[in-house]
Symmetry: C2
Subunit: 356 residues, 2 copies
């Protein structure tokens, strides 16, 4: 870090071009392997650029257009610990296989549409998108890209992209089966963002299986956004008519279910008269907090390690050209106190015995 | 993605060298701007490499050695949501300022010693290290590097590195003051990893202020590792002699405090006879879960946004050569139900009213 460094930062391709009396595009081509520029001119430009401190982005201008051993990882909010965990596993899996991870984060509440074209400019071998909503614009960007795009835990019809996800439909059907086994009658679904495939598929798998069993889906609370606060509010909504509360609630993800459990606890401490029984609660993801003693959340555990490995395999062992991978891995129902058989009494659901 | 791509992957510098009848080191030098190789040879090598699909790592072999606009972010486990949050904020701050983030993750339980030299090989403008233990070997790697290293929420004496951290000593003293105001007498500290500066400084700030006030530090539970499970076990340890439990406990971080609260709740439901009162509990970090209704954790809130901004500023506006930044930002005491005045009764501490 020298003083000259401060000066160097400001040098641009234009400065280099002017110093040598060549055009800016010639400077640009000098940094691109296959571009037509004479070896002598290229060498002169590289020398001048070096002395002036001009440098094109090493990634954007990779000398050769082949594999960079760098993967672009595009993430939305990691406020949901499931995605923080996924991010870390991706970084480790890729690192172990000699790849580096270039991280891009979509601002909270934004989708990745604005970000994806930026990522695609880099010489990355693949782009992995997680935890961010996708739109048709993204699908188009995927299509234009020669870079493989892997959607993690998301699908997007029409996108020329690989997908790796948990089998949301089949997993959600397991929840319906479990509630049926518990003989629940008034079943509710608390939805996440309705523009996500995860939310749509979980609702669809749940309601389809209920229909097959001749059981009605008693109520859907819409407008959730996959946050603790949304789950808390949804439970308050479900409890507003005390005599007519659900006896089983499937939350579209774990962190909403934790909010729901907390709202339920407060209700149980304050409601008068006390409700006849505590609703069974099931989430989706398998985050660590669901196992904490205050929650003991029953949930669908996503096979996160296998999902990450499957996505990384697409990078390291790409399928033949034109083939798109669509991997759906099975989730597992984990039963804890929040939806245990027989239907939980208030005592059971608030007192959590835990072995650590 | 063509079939030839699969073949191309296997090409090495050696293949290129053999095809042209030059040495491997000549191939290597062709990809390094300042290396001595004639323009003609370089052009021939680049052409051959392109057709064979050989490509050196674009980052490792940056054409010019100046600023890459890429920052290496070295992270340990993000099992602690504080660091997941920090990671995301770093990514966004850097992105907004036109920098890209190259992410490196230390395997769980490992320190960054093995990783840092790898990161330093890349053409990154700076390395930011968060949530990973550091050793003298790391300090030496920093010293050898011409790349600025920024330790986030860590300090390491002897390291030629910038540091940005919360003022752990002064913040921990606030906790001692608060417990004194609550008239607590039997004060305990639950430690995190004892090889971390965060743990050492928090214990020191807490015990020093107690000493100033003539209050004894009744007990230190050592051997924690900053996890929920460690906090849970520490609380069980503190409660083994029912008549002699602490009346105030400072946990070295929030997530341990949440484990402690859960162990305490279970104890309150099962202990006979019931304990005379509930200990006041304070954590450190300010993670979102501390605000959840089941916990309502009093804590020191670290000024995370300001800390990230300060660290990023070192990257974007580096200090004059030879100057090391040592920023210590003040934490804020946030009082919630877990340590409210007057000392919490069992009812208060388990019933959490929350406004969302």
């Amino acid at each position: 870090m020298t003083d000259s460094r401060h000066t160097r930062i400001r040098s641009t391709a234009r400065d280099v071009a002017q110093a040598l009396g060549v055009s800016q595009s010639t400077v640009s081509r000098a940094f691109t392997e296959d571009a037509s520029v004479s070896p002598q001119t290229r060498a002169a430009i590289l020398r001048m650029a070096g002395s002036m401190g001009y440098k094109p982005n090493a990634l954007a201008r990779g000398l050769i257009t082949n594999r960079s051993k760098i993967v672009g990882l595009v993430s939305g909010s990691v406020g949901n610990p499931f995605y923080a965990d996924a991010l870390q596993r991706f970084s480790q899996h890729l690192q172990q296989r000699g790849y580096q991870t270039l991280l891009f984060t979509a601002p909270a509440g934004h989708d990745v549409d604005a970000l994806l074209p930026v990522v695609l400019q880099y010489q990355v071998d693949a782009v992995i998108v997680l935890s961010a909503p996708l739109s048709v614009a993204t699908a188009e960007a995927c299509e234009r890209a020669n870079t493989p795009v892997i959607l993690f835990n998301r699908s997007l019809s029409g996108a020329k992209a690989h997908t790796v996800a948990c089998d949301n439909m089949a997993s959600a059907a397991l929840v319906a089966d479990w509630f049926a086994a518990l003989d629940c009658r008034r079943l509710a679904f608390v939805a996440g963002r309705d523009d996500t495939s995860t939310n749509r598929e979980r609702l669809q798998g749940f309601s389809s299986r209920l229909r097959e069993r001749g059981m009605p889906l008693w109520r859907v609370v819409a407008g959730g956004d996959f946050t603790y606060e949304a789950g808390y509010r949804a439970m308050q909504t479900l409890l507003t008519t005390p005599d007519d509360a659900p006896d089983a609630i499937f939350f579209a993800n774990d962190i909403m279910a934790l909010g729901g459990i907390d709202a339920l606890k407060l209700d149980q401490e304050t409601a008068s008269p006390r409700r006849p029984h505590t609703p069974s609660i099931v989430g989706f993801d398998g985050i660590a907090m669901g196992g904490w003693a205050s929650y003991q959340l029953s949930t669908i555990v996503q096979p996160l390690e296998e999902m990450v490995a499957a996505a990384v395999r697409i990078v390291t062992d790409p399928p033949p050209e034109g083939q798109l991978v669509e991997a759906k891995l099975p989730g597992t129902m984990m039963v804890r106190v929040s939806a245990s058989a027989p239907p939980a009494s208030p005592e059971q659901s608030t007192r959590a015995a835990v072995l650590l």
